[in-house]
């Protein structure tokens, strides 16, 4: 399978990438690790006529201490997120989950920015960023802006990013002493989650769901139940509320509505035990 033909340009800086986006408009797509985009192009489900390669912007590959948060550059690969000492210490949920994305070869190429910008409801990292209450930093012709994770995912593969904007940084608040858990349920090792749950608890709880609708979802009913004192098992019974899970070869919507309750309970119990 070969993608349809396109022109290839390489951005040497964020400014250059933004200028190229402005020049080529809708025809163009940014190329980071290519591990969501190239499979789509090979299947001809996507056919941009210009690819703007941002994969060489190594100055956007970093994990930095930002005081009350940890800042991760958009071009940081899953593998580098997984093994980052700073993330393991301060945001272990993210480092752990990055190590569950796809397989080692995928983690050597795919980037956190690509994963979040792609906004696939079946992907692991968007839900983690949502559960943690992260902030996305975007740059466009008008400068830089910050978008709360809760306002970032708009629809199936649609995000708050404008076509002429680029995601540059992902900020994750530090939650010292918080318990956490990621539950990924799949049948084959390298697959996407059939359902996944990211949870973090200290005082308040953040719970986000993978593959339970057209976007990564915050499990607000579960969070509210916990806030009013429900046990993990009782709170988990609310996990399917407000979700519209897909029906596919891996499971029916009903199966997913059941599964998500089981996984939320496990996640809350594990997070409780770790906290």
């Amino acid at each position: 399978m070969i993608p349809s033909a396109f022109d290839y340009v390489r951005a040497a800086s964020v400014d250059e990438a933004l200028a190229q986006l402005a020049e080529h408009g809708d025809e163009a797509k940014l190329l980071a690790g290519g591990h969501s985009l190239l499979p789509l192009m090979k299947l001809r489900l996507a056919a941009p006529t210009v690819l703007i390669d941002i994969g060489r912007l190594r100055d956007l590959s970093y994990v930095r201490d930002g005081g009350n948060h940890v800042a991760v550059g958009a071009l940081t690969r899953h593998r580098d997120v997984e093994v980052s000492d700073l993330l393991r210490a301060e945001v272990p949920l993210l480092a752990h989950t990055a190590g569950l994305v796809g397989d080692p070869q995928v983690r050597h190429r795919g980037t956190i920015g690509g994963s979040v910008a792609h906004g696939d409801p079946a992907s692991d990292l968007p839900a983690v960023v949502l559960a943690l209450g992260g902030t996305l930093v975007a740059r466009g012709p008008g400068g830089e802006r910050e978008i709360a994770a809760g306002e970032f995912f708009h629809g199936f593969l649609e995000t708050a990013l404008a076509p002429d904007e680029m995601l540059t940084e992902i900020r994750l608040p530090k939650r010292p002493g918080a318990g956490w858990s990621y539950q990924k349920f799949n049948r084959r090792a390298q697959d996407w989650a059939i359902v996944g749950v990211a949870a973090v608890r200290n005082g308040g709880a953040g719970v986000a769901l993978v593959n339970m609708g057209s976007t990564p979802l915050r499990a607000t009913a579960v969070e509210q139940a916990l806030a009013s004192g429900a046990s993990p098992a009782d709170a988990a019974a609310h996990a399917a509320e407000g979700t519209e899970p897909p029906d596919d070869l891996n499971g029916s919507a009903d199966y997913r509505r059941h599964l998500v309750q089981v996984l939320v309970r496990r996640a809350l119990e594990e997070a409780g035990a770790r906290g």
Binding site: M1, D7, K42, P104, H108
Partner: protein, 161 residues
């Protein structure tokens, strides 16, 4: 054809300059431009790992990397692992422990194992199984592949590509 791009790639230690179409996949560059047919295409959908090569020392699925993305990099394929007549310890271990049957997955499996061992010099069996998640084998049931990788990890001074 859209505008061709000049790329420089070091493949198994030798530098090459080529003008390539942007959509040329690394695996096709290796097999067709370079004639290195040891790297196989199994699924073409980033699933099976048969096309695994090392790009700057790390395993990648070459069916999902554009040749232009690899520009300036160093690629190692199965043809570049041995030094002269001496097989790489991972190759030797696959032979010794019968880590293959039909052999179709083997080049990718060996390259994935080399990259895995560079990251995990002293792995547990469980880590080996997880570390090879990106590579499918229809023949062996994986048992002897895992045995081979465990044995290679114990080879003294195994050169890590």
């Amino acid at each position: 054809m859209m505008t061709a791009v000049r790329i420089t790639l070091t493949v198994n230690g030798t530098r090459h300059d080529d003008d390539v179409e942007p959509r040329l996949l690394l695996v096709h560059y290796l097999r067709e431009t370079r004639g290195l047919t040891g790297t196989n295409v199994g699924c073409d959908t980033t699933s099976c790992g048969a096309c695994t090569v090392l790009l700057d020392g790390e395993s990648v699925k070459s069916c999902t990397v554009l040749a232009v993305q690899a520009d300036g990099g160093e690629v190692t394929t199965i043809e570049g692992l041995a030094s002269g007549d001496a097989m790489h310890p991972v190759q030797e271990a696959f032979r010794e422990h019968h880590g293959l049957q039909c052999g179709y997955c083997t080049p990718g499996m060996v390259m994935a194992a080399v990259s895995f061992l560079a990251e995990h010099p002293d792995p547990s069996e469980d880590e080996v199984r997880h570390g090879l998640e990106g590579n499918l084998c229809r023949c062996t049931g994986y048992h002897n592949i895992v045995k081979a990788v465990m044995a290679a990890a114990k080879t003294p001074a195994a050169p890590r590509a």
